[in-house]
């Protein structure tokens, strides 16, 4: 079964590049180049996944955040994979907190991007090494220290830290599973929980980053 995706980016070159690099089982059903176009394309085509550039013209100036706010309501809402040239923490944290299920940079290879799309389509989270690094940084989890936080949501479990650290080191989910003697499904569960914490945690680094991009 093919995965239906909508590609949103304000640069024609990038849209063409993404469309070409996706593998055969992923079908591009729509494209858009700004916030309004993206919302319309999602409404009309009802895709499974939206590949969404973080910086977009139009809307209220929030770029991807405007699109996320508008398309994520409802039962058949698509899943969103954020795509960006920027590696800045504010961008990553803001889109993930606004509801994106994954974050990859535009330097990603075709097979990896296809893989990320499939993973997001099945409801899993996609963490690039860089995003995993941000998470460890934001949760102050370097070196396996469990941070002193009152709320469960504000800290990572030891296992989640191990998974994040291996992803940051460049391991694929399968390799993480082999290394920790757990199944790929369990790895996915851990990553999903970390995503959840990233979205809901009130750790001030996250809140601060998000606030700087105008969401709460």
């Amino acid at each position: 079964m093919s995965v239906r995706v909508v590609v949103v980016d304000d640069h024609d070159v990038i849209r063409v590049g993404v469309r070409q690099s996706l593998e055969a089982d992923i079908e591009v059903v729509g494209e858009a180049r700004d916030v309004e176009g993206a919302i319309e394309a999602v409404r009309v085509t009802r895709p499974a996944v939206v590949i969404l550039d973080v910086h977009l013209p139009g809307g209220t100036g929030g770029g991807a955040l405007d699109v996320l706010a508008s398309i994520l309501g409802g039962a058949s809402a698509p899943r969103v994979l954020a795509l960006s040239v920027s590696d800045s923490a504010e961008d990553v944290v803001a889109v993930v907190r606004a509801g994106a299920r994954g974050y990859v940079t535009k330097s990603i290879s075709g097979p990896d991007l296809s893989d990320a799309v499939r993973r997001v389509a099945t409801g899993d989270a996609v963490f690039s090494p860089r995003l995993a690094g941000f998470v460890l940084d934001a949760f102050n989890a370097a070196g396996g220290e469990v941070a002193a936080a009152d709320e469960e949501i504000d800290k990572l479990t030891e296992r989640e830290q191990e998974v994040m650290r291996l992803i940051a080191r460049g391991y694929t989910y399968r390799e993480v599973g082999t290394k920790l003697f757990i199944s790929v499904k369990t790895v996915e569960t851990h990553v999903g929980k970390v995503l959840h914490k990233l979205q809901l945690s009130n750790r001030h680094e996250l809140a601060h980053w998000a606030a700087r991009r105008g969401i709460s």
């Binding site: 800045s88 330097s107 290879s109 090494p129 860089r130 995993a132 690094g133 460890l136 940084d137 370097a142 070196g143 396996g144 220290e145 650290r165 940051a168 080191r169 460049g170 391991y171 390799e175």
Partner: protein, 310 residues
């Protein structure tokens, strides 16, 4: 006003004494009006046009000259009048009054000067910034584009040039200008960039935590650079470098996606791993391990203590 002053001066007999400063004050006020009236227009005029003289007509010049003379006369009149009996106090007060009167007369000129200096400084700064940006774009982007055009038939060269340029432009735009000695994360990123440029591979660098670079950390970064170079030469991408700074140690992981080798079968004379990686890190008080097997990925783990060894 002058009329009033004259009338007052004539009627100033011994019966009705008025204070001696009243007449000079009235004359001075009139002088002030005369001097300020044309200058006011100059001050509010466009401060970017420094040509003051042409803004003031001949009529205005006449008013200024008459005003200045009147003001001088008023100050002189005040100074010679016997407003108090002590000659010493009289001298001092006269001097102070003269200075204040001059300052007040020149206030519009002074204001205008300050404003003009500010405007000039701002425009100089703006011009300087523009020239900086233009110079940077010329040295970097334009040069790279020329190079890319010259190497259009060689995809590897083009992609390396584009990558290096992208990195350069990004650090310029986002002002990431921490020096390698201030930040070990910057030091690691810089040395990995050099490997990327030299060997034309892509290296993903992720750093968690940051601190000023100690000698031990610098050794770890050099070892990581050697490991990444090995991976770039013998392995396949993507190459991942992950660095983590904890309370007690600094660890770097360098990993490629294969094809791996048998670390046990390594000949003694292979200096790369033995000397440049393991030896260097041990001398810094840390340790390094190389984990690999034929047909699998290779991962080099480098760890040095955070505090400097003494």
């Amino acid at each position: 006003m002058v009329g009033t002053a004259v009338v007052l001066a004539i009627s100033n007999d011994d019966d009705k004494r008025i204070p001696p400063w009243v007449i000079p004050l009235i004359i001075y006020a009139a002088a002030l009006v005369l001097v300020w009236s044309p200058l006011d227009a100059v001050v509010s005029a466009d401060a970017r046009r420094p040509d003051v003289v042409s803004l003031v007509s001949r009529d205005a010049w006449l008013r200024i000259v008459v005003g200045l003379i009147a003001a001088a006369f008023a100050v002189w009149m005040f100074a010679v009048s016997r407003f108090t009996d002590s000659p010493l106090v009289r001298t001092w007060v006269a001097v102070v009054v003269a200075v204040l009167a001059t300052a007040l007369l020149l206030a519009p000129w002074w204001l205008r000067l300050i404003r003009q200096v500010n405007v000039e400084r701002e425009s100089r700064v703006r011009e300087f910034e523009r020239a900086e940006i233009a110079a940077h774009l010329h040295d970097s982007v334009l040069q790279t584009l020329t190079l890319i055009r010259a190497h259009a038939a060689e995809p590897d060269t083009v992609s390396r040039l584009a990558r290096a340029q992208e990195r350069d432009l990004r650090s310029y735009l986002y002002q990431e200008r921490r020096s390698p000695s201030e930040s070990v994360a910057a030091a690691l990123a810089a040395s990995m960039n050099e490997v990327e440029d030299a060997l034309g591979v892509a290296i993903e660098v992720v750093s968690v935590g940051d601190a000023p670079t100690t000698m031990a950390m610098a050794a770890a970064v050099s070892a990581a650079r050697e490991a990444a170079t090995n991976s770039a030469r013998h392995g396949v991408g993507p190459i991942s470098v992950y660095a983590e700074l904890t309370a007690t140690s600094y660890e770097i992981f360098v990993r490629d996606a294969g094809p791996g080798f048998d670390p046990g079968a390594l000949p003694e004379d292979r200096l790369g791993i033995r000397n440049s990686i393991i030896g260097r890190v041990r001398r810094a008080g840390g340790d390094a391990t190389v984990r690999s097997a034929v047909g699998e990925s290779t991962e080099v783990t480098i760890s040095v203590p955070r505090e400097e060894q003494r």
